[in-house]
Structures are given as C-alpha cells and as structure tokens.
Amino acid sequence: MAGTNGNGETLKQSPAQPKKYTAKDFASDQDVRWCPGCGDYSVLAQVQRILPDLDVPKEKQIFISGIGCSSRFPYYMNAYGIHGIHGRAPAIASGVKSANPDLTVWVATGDGDALSIGGNHIIHALRRNIGLKILMFNNRIYGLTKGQYSPTSELGKKTKSSPFGTIDYPFNPVQLALGSGGTFVARSMDRDPKHLQQVLLRAAKHDGTAFTDIFQNCNVFNDGAYFLYTEKDTRPDNVLYVEHGKPLVFGKENDKGIKLEGFTPKVISLKDGKHSISDVLVYDETSYELAVLVATFGDRPGFPMPIGVFFKADRPSYEKMMTDQIEAVTKKRGAGDLDKLLKSGNTWTVTAN
C-alpha cells in the first residue's frame, strides 16, 4: 500500500483512475476555522493525502457530518458534502449510500456527535453493514460547545458541566462498535500521520461499515489527553500497534510483548531471558474474540493502548443486498409498469348506460 509523501508526489497510479489527483485537489476554497494547533488539521490532511490513492473520482466522494468542531470537516473538502445536524450524520449518509451505492460515503463525526446524541444511528449503521466510512474524532470532550464532558471522557473528569468530576463511566468505542456487529473496527491517532493514513486507506476500501476511532487532541479544552500515546518519548512504551499476522510486540526496542495464558493476557518482557518472540500472540484481525480481548487493553492497568485494525470481516453490505433484492424481484416479476400497478388489485369496470 503506497502512501503519498504529503504533497501527493509519489502517488501510486492506479490504471482505472480517471485523473491523477494530488492532496491539494481535495482542499476546498473555504478557510479552515479550527483553533490553531487542533488535531483536526492532521486528520484533514491525512484524508486529503490518501484520497488520490483510491480509484474514485472526486465527484464520487461525499463527506457527511453532524455538529461539532470535527463536523466542520466537509466544508474543507473539495468533494460533495453535507454538514448535517447533531448526531444524525449516519442516518443522512445511509440515505445517500442506499440511494446511490456508487458514491464513496464518509462520515465525519465527534465523540459527542457519534456516541452521545448519535449513538443509535452509529450502532444501527454498524449492524446493517452499510457502506459508510465513519471517522470519529475522539477528543474526549465537547469542543464546539466549549468543554463539557463527552461519553468518552474519563470517570471523574472535571469539565464545565462536571465541576466536581463526572460520575459517568465512559464508553470504549471499539467495544461498542464490536458489540454492534461492526465488520471493520479500528483506531488511530491524529499525531501518527502514517498510521492514520494506512488505517484510512483500509477503511476506504472496506466493503461495509468501517468505524475508526481517532484519538484527536483538543488543545483548547482537553489538551494533552493522548500525549502519553502520541508523543515520541512515551509512545513506544505505551502504544501497541495491532497488525494482522504480526506478533503483538511494543516498547522502545520492541522489547515487550503480549502473551496469552489461557484466557488471560500478560505483558511479557522479551529481554528477561524467560520469554521469546515465539511466546507472543500473533494477531488475527478476523477473530472477533481476539478483537474484544485486545480492545480491553486500554482499560487494563499496565497494558499498552492498542491501535490499529482490530477486526475485519467480509459480509455482504446493506446496499449490495438492497440492489440484489431489487434485481431479483424485478427479474422474477418483470420491470414494473405504472399503469399496470394502478390498475391492479380489486378492479371492475363501469360502462356508460
């Protein structure tokens, strides 16, 4: 999977591609209105960088969002877009996708937009496996409304609406997506552009709903929420890159690994002489149970934060089944004729007398 160099120069040219796009082709003429330093800028940049790698003309890309800082996303893309209402992006996007399955439909949403007011639409989109690429900008805060806690805020967090600390346990978005029947569930970070690009590319190419939890820094209301995972010095020891077919190792010198004892995961040292790389669990992204297990690591003391594609399953998408069913019925019954339909049912003729 060839990425771009950020200016789109080393684009892997795909033969079917109608035009050789660069990242800049996907930037709209609107001024970007996020706070300087906001993590949203990076996500925008990575999306714009990977789009030239898809075999999809610009006019077939559509970005749909709810309300929130992150939901301003569509305005900044030179593509089609709808800046919807709070929480409803997956519903609007489902309408677009099932009306025209030919479009590549992206959903840009925040942790509040997706998991608070929009929770129902998210879980139902995942259940249906409808072809939406859901990018959840997870800054663990409500940015646009200036700093209330969100459903991913840590228990006890003090915010504008919780001056004495929250009493709400947060969701683990990956677990929720897995529990909803998601067929592509991943996580990445604003401050790891290369990883984010890889995950976005895979999400874009997934057939069905692709859900990506993106750690994003809100430097105004929740600055540094993820610095442990995103900053150079702390990242290696605190982040586990999960990759299909690869052993689960991490650490500054790849010196730590995850071992499974029965059902219980253990962090092992690969340097203590007691363990070797062959003890380390090799990741299998087709295993639902493994995905659920590894996704718990973020909540387990002493474990690294898992990042990557947790789960990928291949199941016919909603829009495919919808199209197929229409085709099958039409084949069986013949293409509908309006006059026949109007004149069907219990009819009789009255003649002049």
Binding site: I62, N78, G81, G84, A91, S98, A99, L103, G336, K343
Partner: protein, 617 residues
C-alpha cells in the same frame, strides 16, 4: 324456497366481533364483492389498540362498517342498518349506534353466561327487553358452522374459526351478492392449506343457503349498481392510495422513489405496500426510528431520489428537527402524517385532525413548509402526487396530511391513466459553468445538483448560508434576507395551486369550510340540508399552506363561516389569523369521523342564528 327481493338504495352494515373473529377480513371481502357489483361504497374499519385482547371482553371488540349504495356516497354512514354481532361484547359496544328498528344478526352460541358477564350484561339481552326497539335475528352461527364442517377432519378450533365465513355467506345472501369473488380469493389465499380453503368455502355457502332455506329472514334486499362515471374502478384505502401516489409521481418525474419510515399505526400500511413494489425500483428503508427515517430521506433527496417519509403524530414530532434541516438545505422531501388521536400515544388506532398546527408551526426557527391534505381515501393518491410535485418543483419539504379514517377506510376509485397525470419535470443540474448551489430561478428555487456529477462538488449544511454561493454566512443582513426569502418561496407556491372552489352558491349567508378527512361527512350533510331547502355552500380545503390565493375573497363572500373539525379548532385559528374573520367552530374530538346528524343540527342552529341581514353580530 325463494323470498321476495326488496330493492333499497343505501345500506350501512357493521360486522362486529372479537379481535380474533376475523371481522376485518369479513368486511374486506364484503367490500370487494360489493365493489364488483358496482355499488358506490365507503368503509370504516375500527379495531382496538391491543392485538388480540382476551376473548369476549369489551375492549377486544373489532368492527368493520361498510356503506354501499346505488348512488354516490361520501361517508361510511353514521348509524348502521344492520349489525352482525358475533358475541355479546360486540352487541354491547355497538348497539348505541344502531338505527332505531335496525336489524341485529346475533350469534346466539356466544351468548353464554361467561360472555354475557364479560360484556357487562346483567341478563341476556336476547331474552329480556333490551332490544325491543330493534329487529333481532338469532342465528346459532357457531353450531351451524360446526355442523357444516363435520367430517372434514378439522379440529374443533379450526372449524370454529370459519364462523365468520358463515356470517359473510349469510349477508351475501341477504344483500344478493355473488359468492364467486370470495370463492376465488379463498382459493388463492389458502392455496397451501386446501383443507382450510375448503372449510371456509363450505362455511360461506352454508351461511348463504341458511338464508335461502330457512324462515328466519322475512325478505332479502338488492342494491342496484350506482351510476358511477364510466371507467375502470378499484376499491382503495387511503394508505394504498398514498403509496400509489408517490410511486406514480416518481415514475412521472423519472426518478427513483425512496421511502424511509419507521412503523407506526395507522401509517404502517404505506410501508407495507411500498416494500412490495421492489420491481418498480422502489427502495424502502425501515429505519431504527423516525429521526433516522427523516435523516435517510434527507440523504436520499440529496442523492436525487424522490424521498418520502411517512408516519403519524408521535413520529412527526420526532422528525421535526430534521425537517427544519430540510428547509434550510432546500431539498425535496414529502412527509406523510397519517394523523391519529393525541396527544402522546393518545388513541393510536383512532382518527383525528389535530396535527395541522403542528405541521404548520412545529419546527424551531422560521421554517416554513407547504402543507396539503387529502379529502377522501382515493384523494390520498392525488394529494400525495401533488405533494411530490410541489416538493421537487420548489425544492422543499412538503407535508401531506391524511388521517386514520382516510388511511384505513376505502372507496371506489376511478383509476387514472398515467398519461393523464400532470407532468413533473425534473432537471438535475449538470453544467459546472456558473454553478452555485443557492442560485435561484424565477420561483426562488435553487438547482438540484447530485453528488456524482463532475464539476459540481459543493457542500450544503444547516448553518445559515449566503444566498447564491451557499457558503456559511453569519452576516446579520443576509440572515434577515434568507429568512424572508424562504418564507416568500413557500408563499409563492400559491400561484401554482388551484383556486378554491365553492360548492353551491358562490356567495351567501353561510359557508361551511372544512379540510382533510371530514370531506365526506361535511359534503353529505351540506347536500342533505340543501335538499331540505336550506341555503348554504361548502368549501373544502386541500391546500393548507399556502392557502389558495382566492381564499380571502371566497370567505368574504359569505356572512358566516362554519368550520367543523376533529380538533379544537386548528383551521379556525389559521383562518382567523390570516383573514381576521370570526368563524363558528364545531369541534368533536372523539377519535371518530364527524357524525352527520350532530353536524346537521349544529349547522341548522347556526343558520337559524343568522339575522335577516345575513351578518352575524
């Protein structure tokens, strides 16, 4: 033994029994056969909010009323001539509606102590003098059905279930209807269960021959075909008609139909119907809730489909925020509200007209949307078509109001030829030259530009936008301009809808002004009064926002305006604020169609109160 056949003009018959007794099916069969015989007809199904309440209870009674006639009729009738009562509870619930000296056909087998007690009868009404004012015909329907089916190898339960076909056969005999249509239907319906098919068929015939061969019935009747306009007719419910209306509109517009909905009584049948039209390219999407359904419709509209979302009051409330978005985006969406009894869950299986002010004003901000309303079951076709036409022509959400009575009720419909239907021109923008998503045509309408079109990439959204470019704008004067523009766009539709017609004299002392599903009751009452020599006219509104452009003039031509509604006076409020005229209100919020008799009395009273100079003080 053959009986004399009396010819009558107009009959109202009500089948009533337990929810499990198959009364809806019986009524529907009688309706279909009656349609084929050529009578004009109108139906009123009525069933409880419970699926199948315990047998014999009052709240478990289900009924189906049918009126048929040799002339044009407009309502299913106030008072039945005949009540078929399958059990005491059915008798108890419906007796008060029966015409004095009307006919009761009672299934005596069900009048046992347990059922009498469940129905709250102290004694047996068949035995005491409860029914002295009526003609009672006692028929042991259950027993006769069992007898007829003996030896077929059915269980007792299976046999008993056929008793509604016995009743149906009996009524067929009584009103001289042919059994063939139902015979055919039985064969088709129970194709996989030949024994059940045979049993139902036998039961029906047993009923028919029971009428013919016994002395219980003094006479039988005949209702001659009505003098309907020639053509192909179809008996149709309002919900079927709504479904066909939007399919027809989509076909004529040359775009696919997309119906997004969440089931809710009494609107679900629209979804059921449309989901079976897959080979017409119809997409149906059963969403997780009404908000999602509205959102899906917004998306489908943006992608270029004819987007329709149907529901009833509680669901319409939930869609409100999303429709406000639709107003801001200026996308065509048809929202069907099959009104039912409210507030809250209210009376979910009953009819009402209480969402008019809600669809008019029930969105935050200044969010105008056109409203049309169907007058009769078949009119749902035409108004659904109109709603779609207005939506795509003016790029706006449009509300179509029908109601539980229209949705479930049926009438014969002179099926139009698709060629006769008005054209619905749709042009998607394709030219990138000078393209602006919020540029406007002479009607203030913006272009419909679909994702997938090269060169038209653009973004729309719920924030206020600059006119023409569609870019987000916080400019105060632009907002003021846009708020006015959106209002004017909708108001401007007035020039594109028919003038308000008046039935009767075009000016005078009294105009009865109605809208929606009360059409039949009001028109027939006005007619009756006119025949009795009263002077009054009738205007029925099908366009509620904007109003027809001559409406002020029409109202000005009458001294008194009488407005009957199944709500507390919602149209009355709109007329008052729009035209500053006082109106006489008639409001009965009983979950049922207006009763002609009450309505007649109220109109007469109003007429009598009009002083000689024709103006009320």
């Amino acid at each position: 033994m053959s009986k004399t056949i009396e010819t009558v003009d107009d009959v109202v018959i009500r089948f009533a029994g337990d929810s499990g007794d198959g009364m809806q099916l019986t009524g529907t069969q009688f309706t279909n056969t009656t349609a084929l015989v050529g009578n004009d007809l109108s139906t009123l199904p009525d069933y409880p909010a419970e699926i199948r309440a315990p047998a014999g209870t009052l709240f478990g009674v289900s009924s189906f009323q049918l009126r048929f006639s040799s002339w044009d009729i407009l309502t299913p009738g106030d008072q039945p001539d005949v009540l078929v009562a399958m059990n005491p509870a059915a008798l108890k619930v419906h007796l008060k509606d029966l015409k004095k000296s009307g006919l009761i056909v009672a299934n005596t087998d069900s009048f046992d102590d347990k059922n009498l007690a469940l129905a709250g009868f102290a004694g047996n009404p068949l035995a005491d003098d409860t029914l002295v004012d009526y003609q009672v015909i006692e028929v042991p329907i259950t027993k006769l059905t069992l007898n007829a089916l003996q030896g077929m190898g059915l269980t007792q339960k299976e046999s008993v279930r056929c008793k509604n076909f016995f009743a149906l056969g009996l009524m067929y005999w009584m009103y001289s209807r042919p059994m063939e249509p139902t015979e055919g239907w039985i064969k088709q319906k129970f194709g996989n269960e030949p024994k059940i098919a045979e049993a139902n068929d036998k039961a029906m015939k047993a009923g028919y021959y029971y009428g013919e061969s016994t002395e219980v019935f003094a006479s039988r009747f005949e209702v001659k075909p009505a003098q309907l306009k020639p053509g192909l007719y179809r008996n149709i419910t309002g919900n079927e008609a709504t479904a066909l209306g939007v399919v027809a509109a989509a076909k004529k517009a040359g775009i696919p139909l997309f119906y997004a909905s969440y089931p809710i009584t009494p609107a679900s049948d629209i979804l059921h119907n449309l989901s079976s039209y897959k080979n017409y390219g119809v997409k149906t999407f059963q969403a997780e809730d009404e908000i999602a359904a509205a959102g899906v419709a917004v998306g489908a509209a943006y992608a270029g489909n004819l987007a329709v979302t149907g529901t009833s009051g509680p669901g319409a409330a939930l869609k409100s925020e999303t429709i406000s978005l639709g107003v801001m985006l200026e996308l065509p969406i048809v929202i069907v509200d099959v009104q039912r009894g409210g507030p809250s869950t209210g009376l979910p299986t009953k009819t009402e007209q209480s969402d008019l002010l809600f669809v008019m004003y029930g969105r935050h901000g200044e969010a105008p949307a056109p409203i049309v309303a169907a007058a009769t079951p078949a009119d749902c076709f035409h108004m659904a078509y109109e709603a779609a036409r207005i939506a795509v022509k003016y790029m706006t959400p449009v509300y179509l109001l029908t109601d539980g009575y229209l949705g479930n009720g049926s009438e014969p419909w002179l099926v139009p030829d698709s060629k006769e239907l008005p054209t619905i021109p749709v042009t998607f923008r394709t030219d990138p030259e000078n393209f602006h998503p919020y540029a406007r045509n002479e009607n203030n309408v913006r272009p419909w530009a679909l994702p997938g079109t090269p060169g038209l990439e653009h973004r729309i959204g719920g924030l206020e936008k600059a006119n023409i470019t569609g870019n987000v704008s916080y400019d105060p004067d632009n907002h003021d301009f846009m708020v006015h523009l959106r209002a004017e766009k909708v108001a401007g539709i007035a020039k594109d809808i028919p003038l308000q017609e008046v039935y009767g004299e075009q000016s005078g002392d009294l105009l009865v002004m109605s809208w929606g599903g009360t059409y039949g009751a009001v028109r027939s009452t006005v007619d009756r009064l006119r025949k009795k020599g009263y002077k009054l006219s009738h205007a029925h509104l099908r366009y509620l926002n904007p109003f027809p452009r001559n409406l002020g003039e029409v109202l000005g031509n009458f001294g008194t305006i009488f407005v009957p509604e199944i709500n507390l006076g919602q149209l009355a409020r709109l007329l008052r604020s729009e035209y500053l005229i006082d109106v006489v209100q008639f409001n009965k919020v009983r979950g049922l169609p207006l009763r002609s008799t009450e309505l007649e009395q109220a109109i007469v009273k109003t007429l009598e109160a009009i002083p000689a100079n024709g103006k009320r003080s």
